[in-house]
């Protein structure tokens, strides 16, 4: 099967998009956060690859062209941010406090759980940058000699989980200020979470975009300090 599909340049891209479309339809029908289009599309593609014994490389040869636009798309997050500039200035203190709290909470949680599980130093530092955008986190994990592949896996699962639970968590814990919702999502679930924040509203999306950059940069600063603690 892989051999035939190897020749198709659009196979991987098409099954990814169809999986996403299926997710959108299911969500419309069932209205449960579990029917998350991103999650559904990932599971559909994984199932198809496993059933038809198609190697990931073969799929990715085509699908990688979807990811090619990730850098330009991230840059475009500046647009909602620019439109909400007044709000950003008005709440700069709250935003800064929230972002710093988020970065420190991630690291303290990882530190405590690493102690609970008795992880070694290399395993511990692997998880320190888990809540920030992949490209920054890979650099940090590499520098601290963590397992970069596991860092990336943790980041992706963090993002998808954040995307799925964001609405419910904010409702249950009474996080209702759009600025706070955005900072919460961006700090905990980086760009993948941010796509959910953008669905919730422009303010949420703008603040979540901001948090990708600020919490990423703060993590660069704090990670080496936390790495020395355990």
């Amino acid at each position: 099967m892989s051999n035939t599909i190897n020749g198709f340049l659009f196979f991987g891209a098409v099954i990814s998009l169809l999986g996403y479309e299926l997710g959108i339809q299911l969500k419309r029908r069932f209205k449960s956060p579990l029917f998350n289009p991103l999650l559904i599309s990932i599971l559909v593609v994984m199932a198809l690859l496993s059933i038809f014994k198609i190697q990931y490389e073969v799929y990715n040869q085509s699908a990688k062209y979807i990811s090619y636009l990730l850098t330009p798309a991230t840059i475009c997050l500046a647009i909602p941010l620019y439109r909400q500039m007044e709000l950003l200035k008005k709440h700069s203190k709250a935003i800064l406090a929230g972002t710093l709290t988020g970065v420190i909470t991630t690291m303290v949680t990882v530190l405590l759980l690493a102690m609970v599980f008795g992880l070694n130093h290399q395993e511990y530092v692997t998880f320190l940058p888990k809540s920030i955008t992949t490209a920054i986190a890979m650099g940090i994990s590499e520098e601290m000699k963590g397992f970069v592949t596991i860092t990336v896996a943790s980041i992706i699962i963090t993002g998808i989980l954040g995307n799925i639970i964001a609405e419910t968590v904010c409702k249950v814990f009474h996080i209702t200020e759009p600025v706070a919702v955005g900072i919460a999502i961006g700090s905990s679930a980086h760009a993948i979470g941010t796509t959910k924040a953008l669905e919730l509203g422009e303010i949420e999306g703008a603040m979540s975009s901001l948090a990708i950059a600020t919490s990423g940069l703060c993590t660069v600063v704090f990670a080496s300090f936390f790495a020395n603690l355990y």
């Binding site: 850098t71 647009i79 992880l119 699962i157 989980l161 209702t176």
Partner: protein
């Protein structure tokens, strides 16, 4: 033509981001430099909002699907986890939820404090 020019500007900023990334040896990706450059460009009116807005909105709308390939790649990562599987799952789940709740509540607390302070000023 409108979309072509907008897309060109966005890709051009991506390229500048890559160039900056090449020269500064920090673990900061081209996309973050690009985001900051775009924001500065908009703020200084060097890039008018309507020169990039439509193409940007399109890219942002299709952004979720860009994460599918990397996530499907997790299929190959399960093997590496081995004995770390349980800590991996617990750390990933617990920290994500905790950070979301605490960050949201703290930010909201400061926003409401600000609002209260301002209301008091008016009285």
């Amino acid at each position: 033509m409108r979309y072509l020019r907008q897309f060109s500007i966005i890709l051009f900023i991506s390229l500048i981001g890559e160039i900056i990334h090449l020269f500064i040896s920090l673990p900061i990706p081209a996309s973050i430099y690009g985001l900051l450059l775009m924001l500065i460009g908009l703020k200084t009116k060097l890039i008018p909002l309507n020169a990039v807005e439509d193409a940007s909105m399109f890219l942002i709308e299709i952004m979720p699907v860009m994460f599918i390939p990397a996530a499907v790649g997790l299929l190959d990562s399960w093997g590496i986890l081995g004995s770390m599987l349980v800590p991996f799952i617990v750390i990933t789940l617990v920290s994500t939820i905790l950070v979301m709740v605490i960050t949201g509540r703290v930010t909201q607390f400061f926003i409401r404090m600000d609002k209260k302070g301002k209301d008091d000023d008016h009285e």
